[in-house]
């Protein structure tokens, strides 16, 4: 009997350890880009704090500026959305969200209402990756995830296990605690390079009926809102939309009207909001600047309708948004970064006579990216690895205050201990100790009169404006000092 009890205890301990290990690895390896971890941050909130919940595709997290909603109107809002989040995903996201919060309003970015499933792999991955392992996730997997990806995404480690190659301290930080950057789900686009030319303002008098499944999920969302005394506010971002999709939006506009649900159509509001596509749009999304305008309108709309009240005086919300000026404060720096030729940024660093400046773009999915081999190999020697399949970061070399080399190349990851992510910019200062480095297999001479054995690398945090890390790399033996 005693032996049997011992055996049972051993088995239980082993099972607990094994489950703990798998869960730990699962959390360690899953990608942690800002638009992916929204759900994690959401689940870390105290219960019943969120008044406005925003769901939808990337158009939601780029247009719903939760900073503005709080700073201007005192609305505690949170955005749990994901790239290509279909209406089916949105439904299950709302179901998940209602387990811990009782929002008064659900803002539903409507552009994806016509789509029940999407074969966009990244979208599928992002939307399910951080959902907790419960029945709702299982339903999401079966109903919303594109069939081809269902098996792979049943458990995150199956999909993400190969990220062991690129783990950083950020990943280990996540092991024991939830998401740290409190941006309430808002993930703006800053990039001017993809500024849109125009926004077509279509008529509202034509309709294309969406598929039955899409209507079914919209009905489910409406019912879910009714059952939980939540006001549903579908809205459209003020950005370019093609004519057939807008036809579906018109159909839903009428459908919502029949149900007594208001519809905020950003496209019809372009003139009223003074949206300038070149500034306020970015690659068919709203840019940060557009999101400010859109969110100011939404905040005013919700307040005037009496759907929400100002919570700023409420003691429960004292610590609601400690980083409530996070994006506002970085606007100037972002402006520099977004400049196509980087000259403004270089100007800010002009006191460095000899430098390599590496300006990274956001690595949006946390996955291993393909590499521009030539750049990668040439910088590998000095401990830097380039990945560039997604965006085009900026590389520049300054010699004696003059820009002598500029190339848009790739995302940057430091080998070993130095890391770079979207919040950091990196430059390598040659200072007095370096004469050259290799770019594209060619040795770029910075100063032919000098021969020095080492290079200094500074990790420059553009958000704080301070040097975050400084390392010296001995180029003769590759040692990081």
């Amino acid at each position: 009997m005693k032996n049997r009890a011992k055996t049972v205890i051993k088995v239980i301990v082993f099972v607990i350890l094994a489950i703990g290990l798998i869960r730990g690895m699962n959390r360690l390896l899953v990608a942690k880009a800002s638009e992916i971890v929204m759900m994690d941050e959401y689940l870390s909130l105290e219960p019943d704090m969120v008044d406005v919940l925003c769901v939808g595709s990337s158009l939601a997290y780029t247009s719903c500026n939760t900073e503005v909603l709080w700073n201007e109107y005192g609305i505690p809002a949170f955005c749990i959305s994901g790239p290509n989040q279909t209406v089916a995903y949105s439904y299950y996201y709302i179901k998940e969200a209602l387990r811990t919060q009782k929002p008064k309003v659900i803002l539903l970015e409507a552009a994806m209402l016509g789509a029940v499933e999407s074969d966009y792999e990244y979208g599928n991955v992002v939307n399910i990756a951080w959902m907790p392992y419960d029945l709702n996730r299982y339903e999401t997997l079966n109903e919303a995830v594109y069939q081809e990806y269902q098996e792979g995404l049943a458990y995150n480690i199956r999909y993400f296990h190969n990220r062991w190659r690129e783990l950083t301290s950020k990943d280990t930080d996540y092991l024991l605690k939830r998401h740290e950057i409190h941006t309430k789900g808002f993930a703006p686009w800053w990039n001017y390079e993809y500024a849109d030319d125009s926004i077509e303002i279509w008529n509202t008098d034509y309709c294309y009926e969406p598929g039955a499944e899409s209507q079914e999920y919209v009905d489910k969302i409406i019912k879910l809102c009714e059952n939980n005394d939540i006001i549903l506010v579908p809205y459209l971002s003020a950005r370019y939309m093609d004519e057939p999709t807008y036809g579906v939006m018109n159909w839903y506009r009428n459908y919502f009207a029949e149900k007594g649900i208001g519809f905020v159509d950003g496209i019809q509001l372009v003139e009223e909001l003074q949206i300038d596509p070149e500034i306020d749009n970015a690659n068919l999304h709203m840019s940060y600047y557009g999101a400010v305008k859109m969110s100011e309108y939404i905040g005013r709309y919700l307040t005037e309708k009496g759907f929400v009240s100002d919570r700023r005086g409420d003691s429960r919300y004292e610590n609601w948004y400690p980083d409530s000026h996070y994006y506002e404060d970085t606007e100037d720096i972002q402006n520099l970064v977004n400049e196509r030729d980087g000259s403004g940024y270089l100007e800010a660093l002009k006191d460095l006579p000899h430098a390599i400046v590496l300006i990274t773009c956001e690595k949006t999915d946390g996955r291993e990216l393909s590499v521009d081999e030539s750049v990668d190999k040439s910088l590998h020697d000095i401990g830097i690895r380039f990945d560039n399949s997604l965006d085009e970061p900026y590389l520049a070399i300054i010699q004696e205050g003059n820009l002598i080399f500029a190339e848009q190349s790739g995302n940057i990851v430091f080998d070993g201990t130095l890391q770079c992510d979207s919040e950091q910019k990196i430059y390598i200062d040659f200072g007095e100790n370096r004469s050259s480095c290799l770019i594209n297999y060619k040795r770029v001479l910075l100063n032919t009169n000098r021969e020095y054995p080492a290079v200094k690398i500074y990790v420059h945090n553009t958000l704080s404006g301070e040097i975050a890390q400084a390392r010296r790399i001995n180029l003769e033996n590759g040692a990081l000092e």
Partner: protein, 486 residues
């Protein structure tokens, strides 16, 4: 999401269903255990399609009736019924459920293609072994249900080993008397985990490089080709022995011991020794049912050589009705003959040169030599065409370039990090093989006597290493077991 479809050793659904399956097996009254085993096997085959189940039943019933006939006094009657059953499905072929007998164009498959299309070559060899044993009177009568449990037992359905009816039947008789033993379960589980580690972390990782180079051998030279061929030999071993370990582990969890198919074959110091260590169940099958009946070594040197050649050609043919498999078998037959007839000569040379054959140095030399010979033969096995083998040899000889060692090896599909994982993994496997060798293949038993901390560390370490470093999931569709194709 479709669950429980195409179950095999790499599908997580199998392990998901094994947990309740094993629990149920040990919880139910002991007389039901065989039934649970049988039902689980049917479930396994059904997940791979009704055709697979029908085929295994067809083979099982046919061989059982013929076998019983051979053991009975009413031989003719049983043989008649047995042979009728062999051909019955072809007559009933158009009836629903018998479609596995026909190819895409609706023609009846040949027996060979039938067996290969349903992956039954292991099952058919087991059935044939039973019939021959009955014919030779080496086998006792087995109950039909026990025989069906034996022939359908799913762990060896994927890639063997080729079991003997007698060996399993004895265990099935004792199954009801067995008590649940935690240590047996632990030992089964560690075998499964180790098998998955070797397959997913090592075999499939080496497979990336091997496929990169050998699928496009015209564009590779020198050491690149040598490395690919060496790794192919290791890949094959890892792949096949992993499958065997998983099969043994699963069977052990159900209280059944199946034969160990491998005994560190690359530690062999001559070709004969290699074949006593590699795919042991097939080697012994061929020895017992082909080589010895042909006369073995009892009828003079020439007949023995001929028998060896025939046996190894049959071995090649078992892998597929292709010329390169015959060549591979032939090469091994020739190796065996040369090895036997040059033994005295080699000993004499050693004596003349004053080489002590008992030194470790000589042993290592022999092991390396054997590996080189075996590995060269694998080349025929892998690339398929004689022309391709010639081209690979030419590219190797004319393209030897030392720059390979200063980073050239990194351009073959594995980068530095992958190499690190592979080398550490191979060292782990080498250490385990050494321990197996030292403890006479009873390493699991030694492991079980370790303290709890070590056991937990091994289990969890293997679990974590396989989950993280395994080649599987999106972007790495893990290849099926190589030997499943045979």
């Amino acid at each position: 999401m479709e669950l429980f479809k195409n179950l095999d050793f790499l599908s997580w659904e199998l392990y998901l269903s094994l947990v309740p399956g094993i629990l149920l097996f040990w919880i139910v009254p002991s007389k039901w255990r065989k039934g649970i085993l049988f039902l689980f096997s049917i479930f396994f085959y059904l997940s791979n399609g009704l055709s697979a189940l029908l085929a295994v039943f067809w083979i099982g019933l046919t061989s059982y009736i013929i076998g019983r006939g051979l053991l009975s006094k009413k031989r003719r009657l049983f043989l008649l019924v047995g042979l009728s059953i062999v051909f019955l499905p072809f007559l009933l072929g158009r009836v629903s459920g018998m479609s596995f007998l026909y190819d895409h164009s609706g023609r009846v498959r040949t027996v060979a293609s039938l067996l290969s299309c349903i992956g039954m070559s292991y099952t058919s060899l087991m059935a044939a072994g039973y019939v021959i044993d009955c014919y030779l009177g080496r086998c006792k009568a087995i109950r039909l249900f026990d025989y069906l449990v034996f022939i359908t037992f799913f762990p060896y359905a994927v890639s063997g080993p080729i079991e003997r009816a007698e060996h399993i039947a004895v265990q099935l008789e004792q199954l009801g008397k067995k008590r649940f033993d935690m240590k047996r379960l632990q030992s089964g589980a560690i075998l499964i985990l180790y098998g998955l580690f070797v397959k997913l972390v090592l075999a499939d990782r080496m497979g990336i490089l091997v496929n990169t180079v050998l699928d496009d051998y015209r564009n590779y030279i020198g050491f690149e080709l040598i490395l690919a061929v060496v790794l192919y030999g290791l890949e094959l071993y890892c792949d096949f022995s992993a499958c065997s370990d998983i099969a043994r582990g699963i069977a052990r969890c159900f209280g059944i011991e199946i034969v160990n198919n491998f005994r560190q074959p690359y530690f062999a110091d001559n070709i004969g020794d290699f074949w006593r260590r590699w795919h042991i169940s097939l080697s012994t099958w061929l020895r017992d049912y082909i080589y010895i009946p042909l006369g073995g070594n009892r009828k003079g040197r020439i007949r023995q050589s001929l028998n060896l050649i025939i046996t190894f050609v049959v071995s090649g043919l078992w892998h597929g009705f292709r010329f390169h498999f015959i060549l591979w078998g032939l090469l091994h037959g020739i190796y065996q003959i040369i090895s036997k007839y040059t033994l005295n000569f080699r000993i004499r040379i050693c004596n003349i040169l004053g080489i002590d054959r008992k030194t470790i140095g000589h042993k290592i030399f022999q092991v390396c030599g054997t590996f080189c010979m075996v590995d060269f033969a694998w080349l025929f096995f892998r690339v398929g065409e004689l022309r391709a083998v010639r081209r690979i040899i030419e590219n190797t000889v004319y393209g030897l370039d030392l720059s390979f060692f200063t980073g050239g090896y990194l351009g073959l599909g594995l980068d530095n990090l992958e190499w690190n994982v592979l080398i550490i993994g191979l060292l782990v496997m080498f250490a385990v093989d050494m321990l197996h060798s030292r403890y006479k293949d009873n390493f699991e038993a030694v492991f079980l006597h370790e303290n709890l901390f070590v056991k937990y560390l091994c289990f969890l370490g293997l679990l974590a290493a396989t989950a993280v470093f395994g080649i599987y999931g999106k972007g790495f569709e893990s290849s099926t077991f190589i030997y499943r194709g045979f």
